[in-house]
């Protein structure tokens, strides 16, 4: 009796092994490090949406291999991001890493990736000069300097000559401010006030007051998404400034999926970003419909979901270039240099320094059919950082 059982068990095991062998396809593992908890949790959610859409459109097989994604939560802590990246490479054997919302995370992860010879691409990180930190880094997100420059250009074009800058006091805000200031002054404008607002601020009314007192005709803003953005913009709106002067944001303060957090005082708010939910291309239209259909009416395209989608396109390209051979990181990165493609956000090109040349768009919050929306006003094509 027991002998028969044992034989049956072995048969099962062996047949299981054989069948799994025949069904199994070669997989290639990709690590995604994002924020799924903590203050930036919404960006992680957007990553998942963007990646989901990517697979819906393109399937999960690239160059004959199945993409297996492994998610890790950095929860806004760069030190953890570095450790997680190490674990992904050493324990899970991932070949490429994507994600990384914060520039500090990219900085933390860079030496690890260089040591591990693993390509990585940031979906959202915005600081300039990130690509220089590691030869394996490719940018897929925003460059905050380009936004600052484009904002300055819009302001000058609209005849504004007296600018006030109010940015949150951290590296990203400072760089946006410097880029805006340089471009604005070069165009003949004058800076009438410059504020660096501590990140710990809860009541932004005094800053709105300072802006009002200085009487500028344009204000550049850079404030982190979430509570700071809501408080700052509502304070500006409460002071009646949104309609009086050009208030232009450079840091994704009021993306379409966040507009439900604001009241009507945000009507009239300008912003510059490398994507716009309104982009009139078939791909973007499909993306919008897909997101709203699958995730609800508030799931409009935002820089994170778009960054994730386009980032996946780049990762897929890297993997494709290694079709039929062992994955070689150096060759993979080399294969995307100079790569031009029509991304979700518009035309994109990866420069030789692994930074991104892309369009920047000027949008304005307007009421369309009773709903607040970021309406596309102007396109600044092919900005090279």
């Amino acid at each position: 009796m027991t002998r028969a059982l044992r034989e049956a068990a072995w048969t099962l095991v062996l047949s299981g092994m054989l069948t799994s062998g025949s069904i199994a396809q070669e997989t290639i593992k990709v690590g995604i490090i994002g924020e799924f908890t903590g203050s930036f949790a919404t960006s992680g959610e957007s990553y998942r949406q963007g990646i989901d859409a990517y697979f819906a459109k393109n399937g999960d097989v690239v160059a004959g291999k199945k993409l297996e994604l492994i998610y890790r939560d950095a929860a806004g802590k760069p030190g953890d991001a570095a450790r997680l990246a190490e674990e992904l490479v050493v324990n899970e054997g991932v070949k490429v890493i994507g994600g990384l919302t914060l520039s500090s995370e990219v900085a933390a992860v860079a030496p690890v990736m260089t040591d591990a010879k693993t390509p990585f691409t940031s979906f959202s990180a915005a600081a300039p000069g990130l690509a220089a930190k590691s030869p394996y880094f490719v940018r897929a997100g925003q460059d905050v300097r380009a936004s600052g420059q484009a904002a300055a250009r819009s302001a000058l074009k609209n005849g504004k000559r007296h600018a006030y800058t109010a940015v949150s006091d951290y590296v990203a805000g400072q760089q946006a401010e410097e880029a805006f200031t340089a471009e604005f002054k070069a165009g003949g404008g004058e800076i009438v006030g410059q504020d660096r607002i501590p990140l710990s601020t809860v009541d932004y009314a005094p800053y709105a007051e300072r802006i009002a007192n200085a009487n500028p005709d344009v204000v550049q803003i850079f404030v982190p998404t979430g509570a700071p953005a809501v408080s700052m913009l509502q304070a500006i709106g409460a002071r009646g400034l949104m309609k009086k002067i050009m208030v232009i944001g450079t840091g994704a303060e009021a993306e379409d999926n966040d507009l439900h957090l604001f009241n009507d005082s945000i009507d009239g708010y300008y912003s510059v970003m490398y994507m716009t939910a309104q982009l009139d291309t078939p791909l973007n239209k499909w993306f919008r419909e897909y997101l709203v259909g699958k995730f609800g009416a508030e799931a409009l395209p935002n820089p994170h979901s778009v960054g994730a989608y386009d980032g996946m396109t780049i990762i897929a390209r890297m993997i494709e270039s290694q079709a039929g051979k062992q994955f070689d990181a150096d060759a993979a990165v080399a294969s995307v240099l100079g790569y031009s493609f029509e991304g979700l956000r518009g035309p994109m090109k990866i420069n030789d320094d692994r930074e991104l040349t892309q369009n920047y768009y000027l949008r304005q919050v307007q009421k369309v059919d009773g709903r607040l929306e970021n309406v596309l006003l102007e396109t600044f094509p092919n900005i090279k950082p």
Partner: protein, 293 residues
């Protein structure tokens, strides 16, 4: 000259409205700490829950703002009695460290719960149209909402003042704060008093959180974010001293607002510097006379 007048007016109007909301939240903690000798770091959680409930009632239940604020405060006050009976009774005789730890634990639970029910994002509080408009006062234009906050807070504080100074209950509370055993020996039911005072304090915190929500946006980390500010007010007021709370809170509100208006880059430091200087110089509190132990 007009510019300076306008700045001073701004600092006063905005600083006072901000300070009064802090006062509402802090009064409850001052009395709790003075009466029950409990370092209650979870006080901010009641303020947060009050704000969330009130906003939820407005947004989902369609309740008008004033009613929502009142309803939320009452609910939190009642709920806090349950919390007090479950957790805080144990803390009355526990050493300070355990009070700190257990209340931090309660904070964590509150944050987890808020994230679970409302998501990790900011929970925006819409202002009713009659409060959102700006009122032009000549030298300064201010949102009607802020004036309403000042008016309502002053009313509530006046009512509390009256209660503490003129009613028997107030006298009992003051007696128990000054000398608990003596108060007990005169027949005051101290444990019932504790529950009542705890409910009052938590309800006030909820009121502050709900009333102040358009100004201090709600998010799951609210309990920790404002904890420091509230503790600063409490520490500087001395324990059990309700009258000085208002003065200190106004001072904090005005210093914060003035700091941000006049020295924007340094404003992050100012409140902490103020705290350190005052703690070292007047550690019993700013306006306090000596008390029997």
């Amino acid at each position: 000259m007009l510019g300076e007048m306008s700045s001073i007016a701004f600092i006063i109007l905005y600083g006072v409205s901000y300070g009064l909301v802090l006062a509402l939240i802090a009064i409850g903690l001052v009395v709790t700490m003075g009466l029950m000798r409990v370092t209650n770091l979870a006080h901010g959680a009641f303020a947060a829950i009050g704000g969330y409930l009130s906003t939820g009632l407005m947004v989902k239940g369609g309740m008008p703002f004033p009613l929502a604020v009142l309803a939320a405060s009452l609910v939190v006050a009642l709920f806090s009695i349950a919390v007090e009976r479950a957790f805080y009774v144990y803390l009355y005789t526990a050493p300070e460290l355990e009070q700190v730890l257990l209340t931090i634990g309660l904070d964590f639970i509150a944050i987890g719960a808020l994230t679970f029910f409302y998501g990790p994002n900011v929970y925006p509080t819409p202002l009713p149209f009659y409060l959102a408009a700006n009122v032009d006062l000549g030298i300064q234009s201010i949102q009607l909402y802020r004036l309403a906050v000042v008016a309502v807070s002053l009313l509530i504080i006046a009512a509390l003042w009256y209660m503490f100074d003129r009613t028997t209950l107030g006298a009992q509370i003051r007696a128990a704060v000054d000398n608990r055993t003596m108060a007990q020996s005169t027949g005051i039911n101290v444990s019932r008093l504790f529950s009542l005072v705890f409910a009052l304090g938590s309800g006030l915190a909820a009121l502050g959180g709900a009333l102040g929500a358009p100004m201090l946006p709600l998010e799951p980390l609210y309990p920790f974010k404002y904890l420091i500010l509230v503790l600063i007010v409490v520490a500087l007021s001395g324990f059990g001293n309700v009258k000085s709370v208002v003065g200190v809170a106004l001072l904090v509100g005005i210093v914060e607002t003035a700091g941000r208006l006049l020295f924007p880059s340094l404003s992050g430091f100012m409140i902490y510097l103020l705290l350190i200087v005052l703690m070292i110089w007047r550690r019993d509190g700013l306006f306090v006379t000596r008390r029997a132990q």
